[in-house]
Symmetry: C2
């Protein structure tokens, strides 16, 4: 049976914060605590298509690990949910207060605590954003590669096991987080991992926490790996006669073992929307946007091999961008695809798919889903981190139309079922949130989900940490 999520499971949650509890919080936190409606509403919204969940009952702006500990000890004592919040760019309802409670905003914990350039590690507080981090790394010869598009917080990226355009070469947050400081549901401060590059010291708590979406602990410090800026970089776009030709080119690039730094698919819809939004004149046919990193001669060698592969599949000529400015313009276009799409239909919300399959299954998975989307008649755009087998349809729905929502969710469910059948996953990088809990059961099986539930119950017996996410129930 395919389970679809027509609407959020929870409507108005019972209030957890009595006036007495609020007064106690205010006494401890003063102006760091807000119950203003505008602030609460801003924290009760993300980039998902959910529109009818009431905002959190209060927002706490944490400024230190001690603030986080004190809030959590309080919340645990009174069984009040706590929902960690970075910049609000998540896509699956992760930030919504479906059981009421307090939004824990960590954006003021935004200091880069240590740059160990000679070890290529950086220690940050969770509210540091990826652009801020890269800006603070200027002059060190290093950069932080994980790039989900939005200027997300490192804490949020850690929580959703984010990745993005560069992951094909540099890996995801799974590979790029070395160590954490985590406040658990009991208020304990746990340090996981070390700055050593590898370790066999006991259970891999770091990897257990990365991707736990705020349900097992709140990150207060994060050690990430950073990478040497490549000696040479160049980017190119290449148009293709069909999506299939573009996808098959990407598959061949990966199978040839070329260490390409980015290889992104944009369909003709996306390019049309981006052209309007960013005042560009890109040819409106399927396109691969590629980037090469390495030594000067290595980049040249990679690009030549890729050009030969693209030729085989009828790719057009390569348009090159070697200056940092040109490259940035190209990638801005890619990064703005989501906003360009949203603005192409005023008032719409995007329901974004996120399947990821083994590279040999990519063409089958993607092309069948394009046919289905075309037949359904909803406006959509399609972009993909195709080198990783990961792609996103964004179905642009009127959030108040139950019909459109149902059509989009049916397309999503069919796509997920297909990806799972092809040995893939329902989510390559966005996470489960509220939206994919049934898909998780389909994908992982009830035994694995039961193991996750057992871990959750053990580490958060009262279910105060971001309840209603990943796992149904607590």
């Amino acid at each position: 049976m395919l389970l679809t999520t027509d609407s959020p499971r929870s409507t108005a949650a019972p209030a957890r914060l009595t006036p007495d509890l609020l007064a106690a919080l205010a006494a401890r936190f003063g102006a760091q605590l807000s119950t203003a409606l505008a602030v609460r509403e801003q924290h009760g919204r993300d980039e998902s298509a959910y529109v009818d969940v009431p905002p959190p009952e209060a927002v706490l702006f944490a400024e230190s690990t001690q603030d986080v500990i004190d809030l959590i000890v309080f919340a645990d004592a009174h069984a009040v949910p706590v929902i960690p919040f970075g910049v609000g760019s998540s896509l699956e309802g992760h930030l919504l207060a479906v059981r009421g409670g307090i939004s824990l905003d960590v954006s003021r914990m935004n200091r880069v605590l240590a740059v160990n350039a000679e070890d290529m590690t950086v220690t940050v507080q969770p509210g540091v954003t990826r652009k801020q981090l890269n800006s603070e790394l200027k002059g060190t010869g290093l950069f932080f590669p994980v790039d989900p598009g939005a200027d997300a917080s490192i804490g949020g990226m850690c929580a959703t096991r984010a990745s993005g355009t560069n992951a094909v070469r540099y890996g995801t947050m799974r590979e790029n987080v070395l160590a954490l400081e985590v406040v658990t549901a009991s208020g304990a401060v746990v340090r996981t991992g070390t700055r050593a590059k590898k370790s066999s010291a006991g259970y891999d708590l770091t990897r257990l926490m990365v991707g736990s979406e705020g349900t097992l602990g709140v990150f207060t410090e994060i050690v990430v790996r950073v990478h040497p800026l490549p000696e040479a970089e160049s980017a190119a776009v290449c148009s293709f006669p069909s999506i299939e030709a573009a996808v098959r080119t990407a598959i061949h690039i990966i199978q040839a073992g070329i260490p390409i730094a980015r290889v992104e698919l944009l369909d003709a819809n996306s390019i049309r929307m981006v052209n309007v939004h960013s005042k560009l004149a890109l040819p409106e046919s399927p396109m691969l946007l590629m980037e090469f990193h390495g030594t000067a001669s290595g980049v040249k060698e990679q690009a030549e091999t890729v050009r030969m592969i693209a030729d085989e599949f009828g790719g057009g000529s390569f348009e090159w961008a070697t200056s940092a400015e040109d490259r940035s313009r190209l990638w801005t276009a890619r990064h703005h695809a989501y906003f360009a799409a949203i603005q192409s239909r005023p008032g719409c919300r995007a329901i974004s798919t996120d399947t990821c399959v083994p590279i040999s299954r990519l063409a089958e998975c993607l092309l069948e889903s394009v046919d289905e989307a075309d037949a359904a008649g909803l406006p959509y755009y399609l972009v993909g981190h195709v080198g990783d087998g990961n792609f996103h349809f964004g179905y642009l729905i009127d959030p108040n139309s139950a019909h459109e929502r149902r059509v989009a969710e049916t397309l999503n469910a069919q796509l997920v079922a297909r990806a799972i059948r092809l040995d893939g996953t329902c989510t390559g990088e966005h996470g489960i949130g509220m939206h994919k809990m049934d898909f998780l059961v389909q994908e992982a099986g009830i035994e694995a989900v039961e193991m996750m539930r057992a871990i959750k119950r053990t580490l958060d017996p009262k279910g105060i940490l971001n309840p209603g996410k990943i796992l149904d129930g607590k």
Copy 2:
């Protein structure tokens, strides 16, 4: 306080297998079950320095997932420990039956179940060894890079989060295991992960299981990543006037971002032992053994840069090995260092250290420890995966000399304390086993170890899965 492990904590464990239980097992498993002393003794020994732990009470040679399930359901019902066993090459007492019970030998589960060459993934049973896997991959253009030296089983490597010489470029088992089939303490079959390259679908159970040393579940299927054979490969050795010069060369190679495939340190002691054992005539001074993978021009470029760095630190001329045969001879010498060392002192056992530190701390950590070892007067050898900040002293002790054991363990404890002070780990790749449980507490802190304990209790409430390892108590 430094805690040293002078001797195994457990001597004779009470028998768990009554004649009735043994009869029931024999009825189910027939000739797959052995209680012969020779077989039990072979399964009650590893490459650690423990010599006085009684062997397991029985050995089961599992041939299928169903065998594993049936044994574990039986063991759980009767509270009998189960200790998974691959080829017996682990180093920290992982395989010893310190609480009695049954050794679960998976060496007959040695089929390669699927080679998905176009996705660069392979699905194996746990008893497949790394050499067997690479031999079955011949002709596919792919190889499995993780190489701990011994011809370990993939199951065992997964259990200890193993790595080895190639990890500096290709990562460890943490990065190279995509998915697992695991039988849990309740006999449930849990599938973790998928063949997709990345996923954000719930808690990362795969990474929780990798490195769990048989204490959370028994692996029955493992999906690993394999890699394209490089277009070109070459290996070189280079001698240095001092360990410091060799180590500083390695540090510079890594900090320059050169994607070197292997960079191994051997000290003069190791080379002396290897020369005797393998009838070689390598110059008996500190040496780096290096390997370069890439395109023909890429390999040349890397090698040239590395030669310039080595020059700066007084390295001698490079001796090249480009033919597969010459490379294999060189690496055989490195891989035989352990056996060469053991044979250099008849009857001895090696106590092997395994610290790993951030690369900028490597020289300090390693050189101070060399001084200490020299001052202590025990024979030793020193080898290192120095590109990862990981190195091994092997102190060659008479296992019956309490004095020598104490001297070696004191050196080990001092080294571990130093590594932890330098933001590193007590174990880069060997695991905790019985030997480093106190070090784990020093390194991770009591709060993190309590979290590990909570997970262990939840997933294995009766403590039947390899008890007495990683975590004290159950």
